[in-house]
């Protein structure tokens, strides 16, 4: 499970020359409008049999719209859709797509949390019915999970809602690979690894390669370019609702992809000039044998790394509630990672969502001072370059990345001096990320402390110090120059490997 296991030699596909060139999905002149907005300009898009296609582009580039059209959840406004040689335009919907073997794992989790793993398989498969359907559903999911995530340890009667988000995503991915009378011929993975730890992400990449080797196809959408480079045979770049580049994997480099997406080359491996001072503002004592104590100074950016769900969030929450012996001086604000669950108030305006954390400081005689609320919300919206015509619009009118910016504004606009970040960049586009990284550095310079749990290795380079978590314990502290993907992975897998 080490990152080196995807050496180029292993990546080349076993010879299947005849199938390789067959077109499985062929979209011609497909477009989609939402009112006056053209989310998808007329485009041609093909997926070949046995191909793993990487699809990149920042938020709003039209990737998700294209995939929704391909999986039948959105109707195309124009164009023809041919799957497996059959022209399905005009009568293409989810059922038809499923029958033709097209499956999609959506970015936001779409399992039913109140149902078990096996029961969720039933939701996807109309054919799972009649006597004994439970046994068949359980066997189906067990098989798919064993195949994609060997050693997963799930019970098929486990209720999905009681699992952590990363485990749920594993179930959802595996479900897309299940087959009843409808085969799985093309699986679309939209940000599949956003909540997975490195081990599971590597397993998924390997599974996608095996799937392709069997003559099936996958489309992988990811903001993690390394992942795209590891898995794809061909990389398609989208921007502003159209395809702007399409080349085989060999013709791409990390830099060229980022450049094609319309951003300057990503900042990689730049070491931060630290703004940490000597005063300690956060202290959490060691949680037991072999665990280090946690400490953060004023003006410092401290990373919480390690595999997803190994106690990083719990530590942040303990700091927030000052539980477990945590000593914190000054106010604390949290930027949540799971927007839908602990982030936005879906029925409120952007402005109200932003100001929710500030209200104690905006009240006079028990009433909210509406004027200052609006001014301040507008100011923070502008500072974070929130893309909206009006701050009074509903929060759900924003794209995911911009919703996340609003949550940053909520925390940063408060008087809090310690900002906790619970993996807030999950599935956010690079443009938004760059804006937020710059803001974090600036705020740290002004004396704020950031405690940053992240599952993205690149983000650790923005930190002064990194604690690596493993099964609820802090097993390693990395300072500035020591921080590297390799060092974090080594610490994460050291003990129980």
């Amino acid at each position: 499970m080490n990152p080196g296991s995807l050496a180029p030699a292993e990546r080349t596909r076993p010879a299947a020359p005849a199938r390789g060139s067959e077109v499985f999905v062929d979209l011609r002149g497909v477009s989609r409008n939402f009112g006056a907005v053209q989310a998808l300009r007329p485009i041609d898009f093909q997926v070949l049999r046995g191909e793993c296609l990487g699809l990149v582009g920042h938020n709003g580039a039209g990737k998700s719209t294209l995939m929704n059209v391909l999986s039948g959840t959105l109707n195309a406004s124009a164009g023809t859709i041919t799957v497996n040689g059959a022209d399905l335009s005009g009568r293409y919907d989810v059922r038809v797509a499923h029958h033709a073997g097209v499956r999609c794992v959506f970015q936001e989790l779409s399992l039913c949390p109140n149902l078990t793993i096996a029961e969720n398989a039933r939701i996807a498969h109309p054919a799972l019915r009649g006597i004994g359907w439970r046994k068949r559903a359980a066997a189906l999911m067990q098989g798919a999970l064993d195949q994609v995530f060997p050693g997963h340890g799930f019970g098929m009667g486990d209720v999905v809602g009681e699992m952590p988000i990363g485990r749920r995503q594993m179930v959802e991915i595996a479900r897309a690979f299940t087959e009843t009378e409808d085969e799985a011929r093309l699986v679309i993975l939209d940000e599949p690894t956003s909540s997975l730890d490195q081990g599971a992400a590597d397993q998924l990449i390997a599974a996608a390669r095996r799937f392709a080797a069997g003559g099936r196809s996958t489309v992988v959408i990811s903001h993690k370019i390394n992942e795209i480079l590891a898995v794809a045979d061909r990389v398609v770049v989208m921007k502003d609702g159209t395809i702007i580049d399409d080349r085989p994997r060999a013709a791409w480099t990390r830099d060229s992809i980022v450049e094609a997406m319309g951003h300057a080359a990503e900042r990689i491996r730049t070491t931060r000039v630290t703004t940490a001072t000597a005063d300690t503002v956060v202290e959490v004592p060691s949680s037991g044998s072999g665990s280090l104590a946690f400490r953060a100074a004023k003006g410092e950016i401290v990373g919480l790394a390690g595999l997803a769900g190994h106690g990083q969030t719990d530590t942040l929450l303990a700091i927030q509630s000052r539980a477990g012996g945590a000593k914190v001086s000054g106010e604390v604000a949290l930027v949540p990672g799971d927007r839908v669950v602990d982030g936005v108030f879906p029925l409120w305006s952007i402005e109200r969502n932003i100001s929710a954390r500030w209200l104690p400081d905006l009240t006079q005689g028990g009433l909210i001072r509406l004027g200052s609320e609006r001014r301040k919300a507008q100011e923070w919206g502008a500072r974070l370059a929130l893309k909206t015509p009006d701050i009074r619009d509903p929060i759900l009118s924003l794209s995911g990345g911009n919703q996340q910016k609003a949550l940053f504004a909520r925390a940063l606009g408060s008087p809090a001096t310690v900002i906790l970040m619970d993996d807030p960049m999950r599935g956010v586009d690079i443009g938004t990320k760059q804006d937020v990284y710059a803001m974090i550095a600036k705020e740290a310079d002004m004396g704020r402390t950031f405690l940053w749990y992240t599952t993205e290795m690149d983000e650790l380079y923005y930190c002064d110090r990194v604690y690596v978590f493993h099964y609820g314990r802090i097993v390693k502290e990395l300072v500035a120059a020591e921080i590297s993907e390799d060092a974090v992975l080594r610490a994460s897998f050291e003990e129980h490997a």
């Binding site: 399992l111 039913c112 939701i123 996807a124 809602g161």
Partner: protein
């Protein structure tokens, strides 16, 4: 068994434990109740409540709430005591129309994205109006076959026990075990994902409301069989009792978490609670409050168990 599993089991068994404790308390207070006739008397009124509770449970399973079930059950009793006796075919047709209307309301709620609470609250006045029109003053007469069958005294156990057993079994098979039940609960858990998998939410909602209408109809007929005459306000308290029973049985208002067996036990518990308080010679003025207290105590216990399970 791990601590977590222990808590989970306790949580699941809570409705049965509550009912058991209540029965034990009643039997200690009134040993004569521990007989065929005693149980029959105690529980016969639970039969229509069980059906009304299952109707409510279907609706709650998809995150809706039916505030009209009480007046609908009353309306059915009124139809039963007038039309069904005088013109059986017309009466039967009226009952079928009622079920179809229920399904149509489900379609309306889905189609216009209306809040079920508002629609069914309005609907409760429609049912009440129809019932008053049909039977302006309490009276009428139940068809003889109906009151006769509700007086049946089967072997081994009194009629309500048979009803409870059969309803639990059928409810469990349909809602908790069948592939249809999964779609139904899935729609409560994550409607969008169910729709994305190609299921018609319109169809699901119509089926659910139709089934609730059917169960409500049976409830009304059973009630009429017991009382033998109708009244437009006969079952008006069923609305809240049915909601309480579903929740007492382990269900949640949102998220598609419903338990048919628990709901049936909850309906029996609430029926018995009233008798128990009478046995305890608690003033009738205090009884409603005392019933509420039992409900709060059980729910608090459940919350504690579920928290304990999460902490374990």
């Amino acid at each position: 068994m791990s601590r977590q599993a222990l808590f989970a089991t306790a949580e699941r068994l809570l409705p049965a434990i509550t009912l058991g404790l209540l029965l034990a308390a009643i039997f200690t207070e009134q040993p004569r109740a521990m007989s065929y006739f005693g149980l029959n008397l105690l529980l016969s009124l639970a039969i229509p409540i069980m059906f009304a509770t299952l109707a409510q449970m279907m609706i709650i399973a998809i995150n809706d709430l039916d505030l009209s079930i009480g007046s609908y059950v009353s309306l059915v009793a009124c139809i039963g005591s007038t039309l069904l006796t005088s013109q059986p075919w017309l009466g039967a047709l009226a009952l079928v129309c009622g079920i179809a209307l229920y399904a149509a309301v489900g379609a309306l709620i889905e189609w216009r994205r209306l809040p079920s609470i508002v629609v069914t609250l309005g609907l409760s006045f429609v049912w009440l109006g129809l019932a008053v029109t049909l039977l302006p003053t309490p009276g009428g007469k139940a068809p003889a076959w109906l009151s006769g069958s509700m007086r049946a005294q089967p072997a081994f156990a009194p009629l309500p026990i048979y009803f409870a057993a059969v309803l639990s079994l059928v409810g469990w098979l349909v809602v908790s075990r069948s592939s249809f039940g999964v779609i139904l609960r899935g729609a409560g858990g994550n409607a969008r994902s169910v729709a994305r998998a190609g299921w018609s939410l319109l169809g699901i909602r119509m089926a659910v409301y139709g089934m609730a209408g059917l169960l409500g109809t049976i409830s009304g007929l059973c009630l009429l069989g017991l009382t033998t005459s109708g009244d437009a306000n006969l079952a008006s308290r069923y609305t809240l009792v049915s909601i309480a029973s579903v929740i007492l049985g382990g269900g949640s208002f949102i998220g598609g978490r419903v338990f048919p067996v628990g709901a049936v036990l909850g309906a029996m518990t609430l029926t018995l609670a009233a008798s128990f308080l009478t046995f305890m010679r608690i003033n009738a003025d205090w009884q409603i409050g005392a019933q509420g207290f039992i409900l709060v105590a059980v729910l608090a216990l459940r919350a504690m168990l579920s928290r304990g399970r999460e902490a374990a």
